[in-house]
């Protein structure tokens, strides 16, 4: 990839509010990994809440409702697992970067409605899920020490991949 095209990808992703997730894998602990997983879910719920007020496109509303339900269910499971394992999710630079990027994106989305909102929201959902999936596969799952946490993240990856596919389907059907 040329520097120029790398730069345009970086700019494009930054514009979408999806900062590349810089992580030092060997420094990530289970409490930090748990925090990242829960943070990603909570941010997607916040994104979905915006959709419910800013669009009337049924497919987008349905997708947003699904995000809210799915992520709430997964975060409930995550909380139960963390309690069972005696793991307290710990804030960390990765969670903070994710939060900062999505908060900026949410500010942008708040000012958009209907078709313009749909386009921006779905593009962000696709990129956000792609990025989180890549992080799960290459970093979070391999780094997870506790086998139950690892297994939970593996199921989470399948879920997030499903979300990504669903998001891509909705995106392709937008006018």
């Amino acid at each position: 990839m040329t520097f120029r095209s790398m730069l345009s990808v970086a700019v494009a992703t930054a514009m979408l509010g999806v900062a590349p997730m810089a992580m030092a894998a060997d420094q990530l602990t289970d409490p930090q990994i748990a925090h990242i997983a829960v943070t990603a879910g909570a941010l997607d719920i916040d994104n979905a809440k915006l959709a419910l007020t800013n669009t009337s496109t049924q497919a987008v509303i349905d997708f947003a409702n699904q995000m809210m339900k799915d992520h709430a269910a997964v975060n409930e499971q995550a909380a139960a697992l963390a309690q069972k394992l005696g793991v307290t999710p710990e804030d960390n630079p990765t969670s903070q970067a994710l939060t900062e990027a999505q908060t900026a994106e949410q500010a942008k989305l708040a000012g958009l409605k209907d078709a313009a909102f749909d386009k921006e929201y779905m593009a962000n959902e696709v990129e956000f899920h792609k990025m989180v999936n890549a992080a799960l596969e290459t970093t979070l799952i391999p780094a997870a020490q506790n086998p139950e946490l690892k297994s939970f993240l593996e199921t989470g990856l399948k879920l997030f991949q499903g979300h990504q596919q669903h998001a891509e389907m909705v995106q392709s059907e937008l006018n």
Binding site: V74, E76, T155, K158, L159, Q161, H163, Q165, H166, M169
Partner: protein, 108 residues
């Protein structure tokens, strides 16, 4: 005379003959939905059988055939469909399209 010698044996033979061609009882085949997967992912059933999905995930799922039937599988619940036509069916979950399964429906 006619009754005991001819009609009774005929009736008995008729009954026995019918028993021989009675259709097999329709069955219900269960597919478990857990950890984002349909298990077993591939099943074979007969025309007239019912497939029942039991959803053990905390998430809602569906079993959906493109341009075909769509069965809701609420979290912790179940749903079913009766297969009336022989053939190969590919289904997926509408919410998580990476969840897929196939049903081969054989003629009776």
């Amino acid at each position: 005379m006619l009754r005991t010698r001819v009609l009774m044996p005929l009736a008995a033979a008729f009954a026995l003959g019918l028993a021989g061609v009675a259709p097999a009882l329709a069955e219900t085949v269960t597919v478990t939905v857990e950890n984002m997967e349909f298990t077993p992912a591939e099943i074979t059933v007969k025309v007239g059988d019912t497939v029942e999905w039991v959803n053990k995930d905390a998430l809602d799922h569906t079993a959906t055939v493109k341009d075909g039937w769509d069965v809701m599988l609420p979290a912790g619940g179940s749903g079913s469909v009766t297969l009336d036509t022989a053939g190969e069916l590919a289904y997926f979950c509408r919410f998580h399209p990476n969840m897929t399964g196939t049903i081969t429906v054989t003629a009776n």
